[in-house]
Symmetry: C2
Subunit: 188 residues, 2 copies
Amino acid sequence: MELLKQRILRDGRALNEHVLLVDSFLNHQVDVKLMKACGEEFARRFADAGATRIATIESSGIAPAAMTALAMDLPMVILKKSVSSILKDGIIQKEVFSFTKNAPYLLTLKTHFVTPGDRVLLIDDFLANGEAAFGGIALLEQAGAQIVGVGTVIAKTFQPGMDKLRAAGYRVEALAPVKGMSEGKIEF
Amino acid sequence: MELLKQRILRDGRALNEHVLLVDSFLNHQVDVKLMKACGEEFARRFADAGATRIATIESSGIAPAAMTALAMDLPMVILKKSVSSILKDGIIQKEVFSFTKNAPYLLTLKTHFVTPGDRVLLIDDFLANGEAAFGGIALLEQAGAQIVGVGTVIAKTFQPGMDKLRAAGYRVEALAPVKGMSEGKIEF
């Protein structure tokens, strides 16, 4: 997606070979018009997937996933990283390790919001090692859903997540696949 | 906002006098079309506020805030509840107590994304005791912004947040002000 790649080149910052900072338009400050364009692009790429629901992972995936759900006229479910004390009934959980935060967290889903037969499109902001995506997929499949695709705004394709997802049979679309980085340099 | 009130009456669940469960359309499963309608209603109510930026608090406020930012053609900034290990420079923090999670957290803002002179409209999903709102306001004002309004999808007006914000001079708009609840009963 050319608009997104140009924005990453203009406003993103490769801090080193592994860390791409995009907090000025994607995950701290958010350009919602760009997110809307991303949502429409996911809708176009997954038009034939027969999705019945959008899922995303709290919290940087919410903006692009909401715009995708809007473009596809589907409900969205947010896989939570922390659980409210209000109600702990009917939930399933999966431990996921976050390389960014260097700590594990419990990804949580209330099974009531995903039903057997649901065809789920999982949307997130980043795909790197694939830990979050595989954790989300495991929860959604445990709830009886079929994963019809994984859409990521940015993929660091030099890290193993995308290849592992494809090797496991999942369809993956990355709007901006980054094939390599070094300090101050980003290559698609 | 009638559409929202009807949805709360239909799908919301008052568990007791304090807890309103709306996770089937607002904060776990999300009806993005309803969020778009909420965003457009905030845009209408705050049309004269001269806002230059939308702010929200991670993570249930993101969907309605993103739709507000889209309707008002403004950038959005997300006040974070946890900080990435990637970059800790240029951030300011404020401890906020969450009654829902019964624990404090550090609300975090990279000051680079709010500039002195910014006129910020703070959008969130719930207003109850006002802890999160006052914490967010304190951070945004510390960064030099002026708060031109606080918009909440739901306000529990029998809890002190809304009155305290108004007493402190802030303009508050609640799309669904709930004036009382008991098990199975919700009153606007």
